[in-house]
């Protein structure tokens, strides 16, 4: 469920989200999302739910709870194993989080990003480190699992500064941590600032060292690096995200949301006005869709699965797509192993530590 609203639009963010949307429009989008949900998922019994965006907590306690309640009336949530709601520190009040849990939420993902005022400022975040601490405590108090999102590799950021952020996060004791290197996405203000020379990206070597150091520190603290950017205490890996990496099916509701089922990938239209009209007039907000051939699906499956610690299980991929990766990309597999980037263990192709910093390049070789 993609709620596309934020209090401000951060300079690095390329999610489909909008700041300053008036109440009527918000209401219209939320009800269109519920319409879309009715059209596409009535009576469905999902295993995981993820409410993100955007900032769901920006809606406020009553509106968010009402929305979650309406959702629950459309889909059957009785089989849900994990129900995540994203929360931003400036709007994650105790009341909002409490009411959300009352509607079935089992996990909060808090956009902390950093605990340093300057770095929060650089990222345009509308909250302080204290707000984050408060939000974390409020989330904990509900009894739900808690994730913290952090960003490293900001311009000028030193290893010490990053490790200090990481250690503050660890002091909170979250169940899960997502640590992302700052990326400069095309079309964002940050990307433009870098292009104009106002901002200089951190050196590659430093962000690589930060990535490796993060894995070491979090490993020592008992967090399993189950995916390239994701760390979890035992049994706390995010099931919803794992489903993405394993090529599972999911329905994305809302402006710009993405869906997948059996090799058919589709994306909703991003603009709010168009989204409203399409849901109303066409009963479908899909803007772009592709059906992957078995061969492309097989290639994609390896690419995605390599991000996960268990790697790409070749027999599973053969069963899923009907194409044996050993036949389709045997040479690429051999090359990745020869280069010392991957290993084949119990039928699964996995990244080795030496390959980790190059994961994208290695995975792209299979596309």
């Amino acid at each position: 469920m993609h709620t596309p609203f934020c209090v401000v639009k951060c300079g690095y963010c390329d999610f489909n989200s909008y700041a300053g949307v008036d109440d009527d429009a918000v209401q219209a989008v939320l009800s269109a999302m519920l319409d879309e949900l009715r059209l596409r998922a009535r009576g469905l019994r999902p295993r995981t739910v993820f409410v993100g965006g955007g900032t769901p907590t920006w809606l406020g306690a009553q509106r968010l709870a009402g929305f979650l309640k309406d959702m629950a009336a459309i889909v059957d949530l009785s089989g849900v194993e994990e129900f995540t709601c994203e929360a931003n520190p400036e709007s994650a009040t105790a009341e909002t989080l409490q009411l959300a849990v009352g509607q079935g939420v089992t996990r909060f993902s808090i956009g902390a990003q950093s605990f340093d005022r300057e770095r929060l400022n650089f990222l345009d975040r509308p909250h302080s480190a204290e707000d984050t601490m408060g939000a974390f405590a409020a989330a904990r108090a509900t009894g739900a699992a808690v994730n913290l999102d952090l960003i490293f590799g900001l311009p000028g950021e030193t290893m010490e500064q990053w490790l200090s952020d990481l250690s503050t996060a660890l002091d909170c004791g979250p169940d899960h941590l997502s640590c992302y290197a700052l990326t400069y996405e095309r079309g964002t203000p940050l990307h433009a600032r870098r292009a104009r020379g106002e901002v200089r990206a951190a050196p590659e070597e430093r962000t690589r060292d930060m990535l490796l150091e993060t894995r070491a520190v979090l490993g020592d603290a008992g967090y399993d690096a189950y995916e390239i950017s994701n760390y979890a205490r035992p049994e706390q890996a995010c099931l919803h995200n794992l489903n993405y990496w394993h090529g599972g099916a999911y329905i994305g509701i809302g402006p710009g949301a993405a869906s997948h089922r059996s090799g058919r990938r589709s994306t909703n239209v991003r603009a709010l006005g168009t989204y409203l009209r399409w849901v109303r007039d066409r009963q479908c907000a899909c803007d772009d869709a592709e059906t992957l051939s078995p061969e492309r699906r097989c290639r994609e499956a390896i690419w995605l699965a390599l991000r996960v610690v268990q790697g790409a299980h070749l027999d599973t991929i053969t069963n899923l797509t009907g194409i044996d990766p050993r036949v389709l990309v045997g040479a690429e597999i051999a090359a990745a192993i020869d280069a010392g980037h991957c290993e084949l263990v119990r039928g699964a192709l996995r990244l080795l530590p030496a390959g980790l910093p190059f994961a994208d390049g290695i995975a792209a070789d299979f596309l």
Binding site: T183, E205, T207, L211, T267, L304, A364, L367
Partner: protein
């Protein structure tokens, strides 16, 4: 009666710079003479190849016959012979002009005379043609007809008051152009009773009828079922069909002295016909061949290699096909240690090279790696023997070379007066020797240099455009081969000598060029998982060296909200870019790097 009287024939061509409106004027002439109706008229009828239309130039000459009733009440046959115009095809231009008695010198009234106009006007003068200066686009608000007429007088020595004014676009003044053709172009001379003598000025390949020849009958008559002889290729044929181009082929019984038309025999390959060759009778009283015949020789060579070794056979097929329609292009197999199997291809010039490569990539969907273009060097060896070198990698060991000669051209550059300083610097930096300056018009001058062809074959034209803010135009012709102190500049990537990156440079420039090449490669070769040293060397001595640092990280954060399609498409696009790279040893070198060796950052 067969055919119009010789006195009523006018054979002419149009000389013009790119975009000065040649095709539009040709269209208008055909329309006014009723050769084609406005409805049949496709824009740019004479330039019918897609690529030519896009580049705004005519590559292959064509001819069209038009009937025109002049103000004197007589009906004339006007044969318009289209010329390719560009310097790369100057031999073909020459032969087309030799088929005429007159030429329209078409100049854009807002642009004035350009270097190419002067060069072609000079060819027309040598061929002894009557020239009619025509100022086009006089309807434009920016037109300066008086200024342009002055430039014509200064640069080409045609009196300013002889200039006709017209707008080919609106049709204004085009009547006067037709009348001037009748009045000022002399009728062809020649005897229909004399033995046959005809000039081949162009040919093309028709999928159904084989080779179609365009010719001008100089003396005698050319008839159906006649046996003919071509002395240049030493072959005999039977004439199957002759006729006029209107502009579609219109068969006739015969073509007589002074006429222009087409000829079809049973000729299978374009290679069997050479522009400039003569057509004579096979048996009986045979006339002398027409003078000035030669086979045009490729001036510029480059290697073309398939990016995927498996596509070699497809490349061969594509080149075979291309050769069917372009006999001036040559190719022979070449093998490179770095690039594998490909072809060494010869072209008349740079434009010709660019056109061929584009056609291969567009029409045959080939992914090619092109090596840096090179001129033809003449090498004199210690044992007294001589040889031609088309590729730097063919150079013999330095100790065996007594002398190396390189082609020198006369380079004419037409520029606004304020650019003289920067153009001087540009040319002299590239070993140009200044010859003269001519004042052509108010604020326009023509500079002449002697310069090695090798110095202008890559980015010279771009640089000229940039230092003259787009106003400079250039033209060149080969004058001679001269000895130069030349050395091969070799390039090592990751310790491996990459033959395809080798260039031949002047000894005095070698260090500087070496540094430039290494800098350019450093920018073009992407970082890989290990450090890559790149070095430039002359006869084993390293003159420049740089390291490409190893790539240390290549991993992104996440696939946002399950939007996997977007990320995958991004990666697939990058992967496609990677496909255009060539593995040399264990280093991936992109196509652009092979050309970067000629680029200079000045």
């Amino acid at each position: 009666m067969s055919g119009p009287l010789t006195q009523r024939i006018r054979n002419f061509s149009i000389i013009a710079h790119i975009d000065h409106g040649k095709s539009t004027l040709a269209d208008r002439l055909m329309e006014l003479t009723g050769t084609v109706t406005a409805r049949e008229m496709q824009a740019q009828l004479l330039d019918d190849m897609e690529l030519e239309r896009e580049r705004g130039i005519t590559i292959k000459a064509k001819a069209v016959s038009m009937h025109y009733t002049a103000k004197d009440g007589n009906r004339y046959l006007l044969n318009l012979i289209d010329t390719p115009g560009h310097v790369d095809f100057s031999y073909e231009v020459e032969k087309s002009l030799e088929a005429c008695e007159g030429a329209l010198l078409l100049v854009d009234a807002s642009q004035g005379v350009e270097a190419q106009t002067v060069a072609n006007a000079h060819l027309a003068e040598v061929a002894g043609l009557a020239m009619i200066p025509v100022l086009n686009k006089v309807d434009l608000p920016t037109a300066q007809p008086d200024e342009a007429a002055m430039e014509i007088e200064n640069a080409i020595c045609l009196p300013a008051e002889d200039c006709l004014h017209c707008s080919a676009k609106t049709g204004v003044g085009v009547d006067d152009v037709l009348e001037a053709i009748v009045e000022r172009v002399p009728p062809p001379e020649g005897q229909s009773e004399a033995p046959l003598q005809a000039l081949i000025f162009d040919s093309f390949f028709d999928d159904y009828r084989g080779v179609v020849i365009y010719c001008r009958i100089v003396n005698g008559t050319l008839e159906k079922r006649q046996r003919i002889w071509m002395p240049g290729t030493k072959t005999a044929y039977e004439v199957l069909e002759v006729g006029h181009m209107k502009p579609a082929m219109q068969p006739r019984d015969k073509l007589s002295a002074g006429e222009v038309g087409y000829l079809i025999s049973n000729i299978k390959r374009l290679d069997d016909v050479v522009v400039g060759d003569s057509i004579l009778i096979e048996k009986g009283e045979r006339a002398e061949p027409l003078p000035g015949f030669k086979r045009p020789k490729p001036m510029v060579f480059c290697g073309l290699f398939p990016t995927n070794a498996g596509d070699f056979d497809d490349l061969r097929k594509a080149l075979d096909k291309l050769k069917l329609n372009d006999s001036s292009f040559s190719y022979e197999p070449e093998s490179s240690d770095a690039l594998g199997f490909g072809y060494r291809c010869g072209f008349l010039g740079l434009l010709h090279m660019a056109i061929v490569q584009e056609r291969l990539e567009r029409e045959d969907n080939m992914d090619l790696v092109q090596t840096a273009p090179t001129v033809v060097y003449q090498i004199q060896l210690d044992d007294g023997s001589e040889r031609e070198v088309h590729s730097p990698s063919e150079l013999p060991d330095g100790s065996q070379i007594r002398a190396m000669l390189e082609p020198i051209v006369k380079l004419s550059i037409m520029i606004p007066a304020e650019s003289i300083g920067s153009v001087m610097r540009l040319a002299t930096d590239r070993r140009g020797r200044y010859v003269t300056t001519e004042v052509i018009g108010h604020n326009r001058q023509m500079l002449t240099f002697e310069i090695p062809l090798a110095e202008i074959i890559y980015d010279f034209h771009d640089k000229l455009k940039s230092v003259t803010r787009g106003y400079g135009t250039m033209d060149y012709e080969l004058i001679e081969y001269r000895q130069g102190n030349l050395v091969p500049l070799r390039v090592m990537v990751n310790g491996e000598d990459v033959d395809a990156l080798c260039t031949i440079v002047h000894r005095d420039d070698a260090e500087r060029r070496g540094r430039e090449v290494i800098q350019a490669l450093r920018k073009e070769i992407p970082r890989q998982m290990f450090q890559i040293p790149i070095q430039a060397a002359i006869y084993g001595k390293i003159v420049a060296r740089e390291n490409i640092r190893a790539l240390s990280k290549n991993v992104t954060a996440k696939c946002y909200g399950g939007d996997i399609s977007r990320k995958r498409k991004l990666w697939e696009k990058q992967k496609k870019g990677k496909k255009r790279m060539k593995m040399v040893g264990n280093v991936e070198i992109p196509q652009k790097a092979f050309l970067a060796v000629l680029k200079s950052d000045d």
